[in-house]
Structures are given as structure tokens and as C-alpha cells.
Symmetry: C2
Subunit: 136 residues, 2 copies
Amino acid sequence: MREDVEAVLAANREFYRAFANRDAEAMANLWSRRNPIACIHPGWDALVDRDQIIRSWQQILATRDAPEIECLNVTPYVIGEAAFVVCHEALDGNMLAATNIFRLEDGDWKLIHHQSGPLAILPLGDMEAPSSERLH
Amino acid sequence: MREDVEAVLAANREFYRAFANRDAEAMANLWSRRNPIACIHPGWDALVDRDQIIRSWQQILATRDAPEIECLNVTPYVIGEAAFVVCHEALDGNMLAATNIFRLEDGDWKLIHHQSGPLAILPLGDMEAPSSERLH
């Protein structure tokens, strides 16, 4: 179980490494080809088609002014051959909260879902957003 | 497998029923007590403590002007004893995209994670957000 957690954390680091390095090929290889996947970029509609998801990443990683991204405060959860992490994404003074879901395939933890959205306030100990910013 | 999908969809419906009916007791019972959980409300920081998560729902459901919520366009994914759905949440003219993760416990699919965030545009076939709204 401890090994699974380490492997999931490594897969999550690899995701942010590909993101930060704008490595579209590594990004495409991180996502499962065998199982259904999904992706919700901040503000975007949910994507559930693999080609559309890979294209969305190619588009994001090709943008000349793509922001630097850093992954922080990772909390991992493993449930058999599925796992997810909850983490922060720091980019250009913005802080986002993200969920990344992985699935074990032949010994590799492959990405099957990503959702990320901005925090209304920066995390400073107290965990609640101001009510004026809340949708629910 | 088909039965698992149906059971996950039923658990997801129950989550939105509790939400729409402001049923804090049902909401608390839907979330796992046995396993670690997480929750990212729109704009909020990630919550990873069960008491904090249940309190956040009590607070949301107790708000007199809590918006009506409807779950739409659910796509389910089952991976052994873990499952997640990607769906839309329609509330008061806003459209959000959400991820709900479940874990099988003694035959019941219990919630272990929820993340929801607003779409920058309403979904109308084309799935991409305008670049001005994008964080990545």
C-alpha cells in the first residue's frame, strides 16, 4: 500500500513535470489509452473523449504564454487499482485546487481524470471561501 | 459491472437529492466514515478533514437562499471498488462541472470526494472555453 502511494505520487509528479515542461508527448503518454477518461480544465466544459482531451493539452502546452505551474500540498488516496490525489496548483499568483484520478494498468498508474479550478482566496489556514464568492 | 454502474448512478442521484432537499443528515450519511475523504466546493480550498467537510455541507444546506441544484449529463466510471462520475450541476442560471468519487463499502457506494467548479461559458456543443477565461 505504501508502495502504491509512492507510485501514485510519482505519476502525479510526472503529470506536473510534463505540464511545466510543455511536453505534449509525455502528457499524451500519461493518459490511459485503454480505459475511458475525462478532463475538466478550469472554466471549460467536461471533456470525455480521448482525442479531444489530448488535443486540449496540446493546445494548452503550445500556448507561448502558458503559465508556469507548480504542484503543492498533495494528498493521495488509493482504492485498489484506482487512486486519486487532491492538490494545489500554483501558477502566476493564482492558486487552484485540483483532483487527479489514476488507474493501475500493467503496473503503471495512468491518468484517467483531471479537474482543476481556481480558489476564490489564497489558502492561509482558514479553509473557507467568502460567501460572496460561493456558488455552493 | 452494469449493476455497479447503476448503483453508482443511484448514489450520485441520492447526493443531489440530499443537496436539493437541503437534507444535511442524508448528506452526512452519504459520505464515507471509514475511509479518508476530500471535498472542493467551487472557489473553496480543498477540505480533507471529515468533520470540516460535514460542517461545510451543513453550512451550505442551512443557507436560506441556497440555490436549487439539478444534476445533468452524468458520465459514470467504475474501477473495481472505486467509481467516479463527471456531471453538470445547473443552479440558478449557472452551469458547473463536477467530479464525484465513490468507494464501495459493504455493498454501499459512499462518497469519498466531490469537486465542482463553474463553466466560463454554457455548454452548447463546442466544448472549449474562451482563452480570456482560461487559467490553463
